[in-house]
């Protein structure tokens, strides 16, 4: 919309050129920034371009990316999940507790953690769908509850192999090798976390973009009333989305636990903001304007590139947060300010859709 005081013809030409330029920037700007950043580091830091470093970066970002994919899934139904960080932290402690205190093998720990993750998602879904608490508040509450519950279970302590228990004995179990394989293993040259990250991304892309269930998830997020009248079981899809998000967050937690090798009580604390940021960046990538799997993955990669590059340049750790903030700001500007398309993100609507 431009000033009508100019003659209509002139207005039309000017606005369409402007609009096309804006559309181009919105579509490719983000990719360009990523490529530019990579080029910059490749040129300035020779060690950046090694294969090891590339896989190292992807491995480092895998938990964030997977949790971000979870948030993205919640965003498809018009919601958001603030409990992903707490969920992942819970997974770290529960995995450690199962193996070290419960003296179980890694497979059992993985199963317990995944079940817990889905249950946390189910709790979110219950609060949002049945109790009708707005998603932002419901998942915030869940976050507190889960963090508290974790600390109660582990007595507020980090759990490590051969730790001394409160009754004076030594803990019976340890982090088993099969569990640690989740972080340290690789298939060919590709580390296991990277494989999990890629597989989940592809699965989610396929689910969301190619199947009718994905279409229904987006329909619920776009206009839940129209979706309901179209015969879509809105509440069911919202429940599934939150449970899926819980599952993905617990997988992220498993990878973190395997990386740390102990039940660090503070693990997962920083995951939430990164995961939400990655999902929001994903919305703006390629000007898609709605939550999507590839965009989220790309957002995670961008953050990995930035963090790695900053570290190599010897910048202090707090510079990374500043950099992430700028990236998120640019992404949001692309999504909401410069985009002509309607951005379908209602991440954390403050009222519950009934």
């Amino acid at each position: 919309m431009t000033s009508p005081t100019v003659t209509p013809g002139a207005v039309a030409t000017r606005s369409s050129v402007g609009e096309r330029a804006a559309a181009f920037v919105v579509k490719w700007g983000f990719v360009a920034v990523t490529v530019a950043l990579i080029l910059f580091f490749v040129i300035t830091e020779p060690s950046f371009r090694t294969v090891d470093n590339i896989f190292g970066m992807l491995k480092f970002i895998a938990p964030t990316a997977i949790a971000g994919l979870g948030v993205m899934l919640a965003m498809t139904v018009g919601g958001i999940d603030l409990s992903v960080g707490a969920n992942a932290g819970f997974a770290v402690s529960i995995a450690a507790w199962t193996m070290v205190i419960g003296n179980q093998v890694g497979g059992v720990a993985v199963s317990v953690v995944l079940v817990c993750g889905v249950l946390i998602g189910a709790l979110n879904a219950f609060l949002i769908v049945v109790a009708r608490i707005p998603d932002l508040l419901a998942t915030l509450t869940t976050m507190f509850v889960i963090v508290g519950l974790k600390l109660i279970i582990v007595d507020g302590k980090s759990i490590s192999s051969q730790m001394t228990l409160s009754n004076g004995t030594t803990a019976p179990g340890k982090f088993t090798a099969d569990f640690l394989w989740l972080d340290r293993g690789s298939i060919g040259p590709v580390p296991v976390p990277v494989i999990i990250f890629v597989v989940i991304t592809v699965l989610l892309w396929f689910l969301l973009e190619r199947t009718r269930w994905g279409r229904a998830l987006f329909a619920v997020g776009t206009n839940s009333e129209a979706a309901r009248l179209s015969g879509i079981r809105v509440q069911w899809y919202r429940t599934v989305a939150y449970m899926g998000c819980g599952l993905l967050a617990s997988i992220a937690g498993l990878l973190l636990a395997a990386r740390i090798g102990q039940g660090d009580v503070s693990a997962g604390n920083s995951l939430l903001l990164d995961a939400v940021a990655v999902a929001l960046v994903g919305v703006s990538v390629l000007g898609i304007g709605r939550p999507n799997a590839w965009g989220t993955a790309l957002g995670a990669v961008l953050i990995a590139v930035m963090v790695t590059g900053f570290t190599m340049l010897g910048l202090p750790y707090y510079a990374q947060d500043f950099g992430k903030g700028i990236v998120l700001l640019v992404a949001l500007l692309f999504s909401f300010t410069f985009s002509r398309r309607r951005t379908v993100v209602t991440a954390g609507s403050t009222t519950s859709a009934s």
Partner: protein, 557 residues
């Protein structure tokens, strides 16, 4: 430079506000062209025009809501540039917008709402003085001759009845002692009696020398109230006429074609086989049971006001509600849908009342909007078959002549009428046994209405049943083979369209008007946004002797 006109010394004929060559364009889209109008004191000017004719654009420019107009607007002889509503009000132009609920801040008291504009004035004392506000509020109400008690002034404005809220907004608009008052469809949410009360207020305001622009689709109201009529079409002033109004010419100016106005169908098709049956269905807890047969091969028009039970019937059959009492039958078998999906599987589809809220998926392509309810049908093992989707979308676009750049166009880029065609086409695309359309012609231009009507006749001819639920007599006469009039959950009339004349239908339709309180209208919660076109046929609201019956249409789109 803007100057505050200070000279009240004007001849009676001097115009309060005059427009010369006012145009508005949005990008390359010119929506108002070279408008020249004069508004004189003590005169009510009715502004008429179909949807998209430029009425709201003109009002926005006049009320300062859109400063990007070209041409000249002068107030009291001085050329001004209206840049904001506050400035326009300061210069003497006040507007009351259609959605009353938008003008009320819930949570604030009635008095605070009345004095709301003070919050925006820098000159006011920053601390709010309750007693002063109450006094100001009383003074504002006095301009309308109202005297509300202290307890009313202290109550939450959201709890006001819609008609009182309307008066509140009007009183607030008059606080700045405007010289020109703009009212945009002020009666759309009012009952007939409430509308009458408003008209009395407007007549006394006119007597006091105020110039009023009155926007309405209701010819009866205009006949009763206005001193002249200005017709807009395609952003151009088509005509200005003074009393007595030649309605046929006015309609011609509005729509650009005279013959279409009384477009009744010749003979009615009579269906034979009953597709759906309502058996002893109670539409409201207190109403008596209703029996109704819906037959294949005909278009059934159910006519009723808000609260008559139209939406209830649609929701029962569409699987959105379960009957309070009684049972439903579909094709001879008991039918008890628990959710919309059940109804869709059974071949019953519902085109909901509110297109924006219940129909379209904003930002989605036309194609995806069309196929949403039939994803199971258009996919194999969960995988969506794109070719199937595309052919279905193409069919809908062709059969209903949807104006869009293609199936991949965003639904947001379509006009309201074309969006409605997409929504209707979506639901008819799966060859339903029974199609229910709740107020399908609201906000839809006449051409789209024709196309939708023709499509309904076509599916009826193919052996399906179509039900149109509407509060507009003309719409019903235009599309329906058979007419059922619903009043307060009761069937007042059930006849074929060629066996019944308009006045009988209108008589049945207005049956409840003889009882003083309109329970349904009074029960409307005031906080709810303006009830969708609250359907008081103007014939009932204000007798309009010179307006032909076919003009009683309340909303031309």
């Amino acid at each position: 430079m803007t100057t505050v006109p200070t000279t009240p010394v004007e001849g009676h004929d001097a115009s309060v506000v005059s427009l010369v060559g006012v145009s508005v364009a949005y990008g390359s889209n010119v929506v108002l062209t070279d408008v020249a109008l004069e508004f004189r004191p003590g005169e009510i000017t009715a502004l008429l025009g179909a949807n998209g004719a430029g009425k709201s654009t003109l009002i926005k420019a006049l009320s300062g809501a859109n400063s990007r107009y070209s041409g000249e607007i002068s107030i009291g002889g001085d050329v001004v540039h209206l840049s904001s509503p506050v400035q326009a009000r300061h210069l003497g132009i006040s507007a009351v917008h259609q959605k009353v609920a938008d003008g009320i801040v819930p949570g604030l008291s009635v008095a605070e709402n009345l004095t709301l504009d003070d919050l925006a004035q820098a000159s006011r004392h920053p601390l709010r003085n309750k007693r002063a506000a109450t006094a100001d509020a009383r003074a504002a109400l006095a301009t309308l001759g109202l005297d509300w008690s202290d307890s009313v002034l202290a109550q939450d404005a959201a709890d006001l009845a819609i008609s009182d809220a309307q008066l509140l907004v009007l009183a607030r608009a008059l606080r700045s002692t405007p010289r020109l008052l703009i009212l945009d469809e002020p009666t759309s949410a009012l009952t007939a009696a409430e509308a009458e009360r408003l008209f009395d207020v407007l007549r006394s305001l006119r007597a006091s020398g105020l110039s009023i622009i009155y926007v309405s689709h209701r010819f009866g109201e205009i006949e009763a109230l206005a001193d002249r009529v200005v017709v807009l079409r395609d952003g151009i002033v088509q005509s200005e006429s003074a009393r007595p109004f030649e309605w046929h010419e006015i309609l011609h100016d509005m729509l650009g074609r005279a013959t279409d106005l009384a477009h009744d169908r010749g003979s009615s098709h009579h269906g034979t086989t009953v597709i759906a049956r309502l058996d002893g269905i109670r539409l409201f807890p207190e109403s008596a049971p209703v029996d109704l047969d819906i037959k294949a091969g005909e278009v059934l028009g159910i006519l009723g006001l808000i609260g008559a039970g139209k939406t209830e019937i649609a929701e029962l059959l569409g699987g959105l509600a379960t009957p309070l009492a009684g049972s439903l039958t579909l094709s001879g078998a008991p039918y008890a849908p628990k959710r919309p999906g059940d109804a869709i599987k059974a071949g019953v589809v519902l085109v909901p009342e509110d297109r924006q809220r219940q129909g379209i998926l904003p930002g989605w392509s036309v194609l995806r909007n069309i196929t949403l309810p039939f994803l199971a049908e258009s996919s194999v093992a969960g995988l969506v078959r794109r070719r199937f989707e595309r052919s279905r979308a193409d069919t809908v676009i062709d059969t209903l002549s949807v104006v869009a750049s293609g199936p991949d166009a965003s639904i947001d880029d379509l006009s309201g009428g074309n969006q409605q065609k997409v929504v209707v086409g979506r639901w008819l695309s799966a060859r339903p046994k029974l199609a229910l359309l709740d107020e399908p012609f609201r906000g839809v231009d006449i051409a789209a209405r024709r196309e939708i009507g023709a499509r309904l006749s076509a599916i009826a001819a193919e052996g399906a049943a179509a039900v149109v639920l509407s509060s507009d007599v003309d719409e019903i006469f235009e599309v329906a083979d058979r007419i059922v009039v619903l009043v307060s959950g009761q069937i007042e009339l059930d006849r074929y369209a060629d066996e019944v004349d308009r006045s009988t239908v209108i008589g049945a339709f207005l049956g409840q008007r003889h009882e003083p309180p309109d329970a349904a209208a009074l029960a409307t919660p005031p906080a709810a946004a303006t009830p969708p076109a609250a359907a008081i046929p103007p014939a009932a609201a204000t007798p309009a002797p010179s307006a032909p019956e076919s003009d009683s249409r309340k909303d031309l789109e």
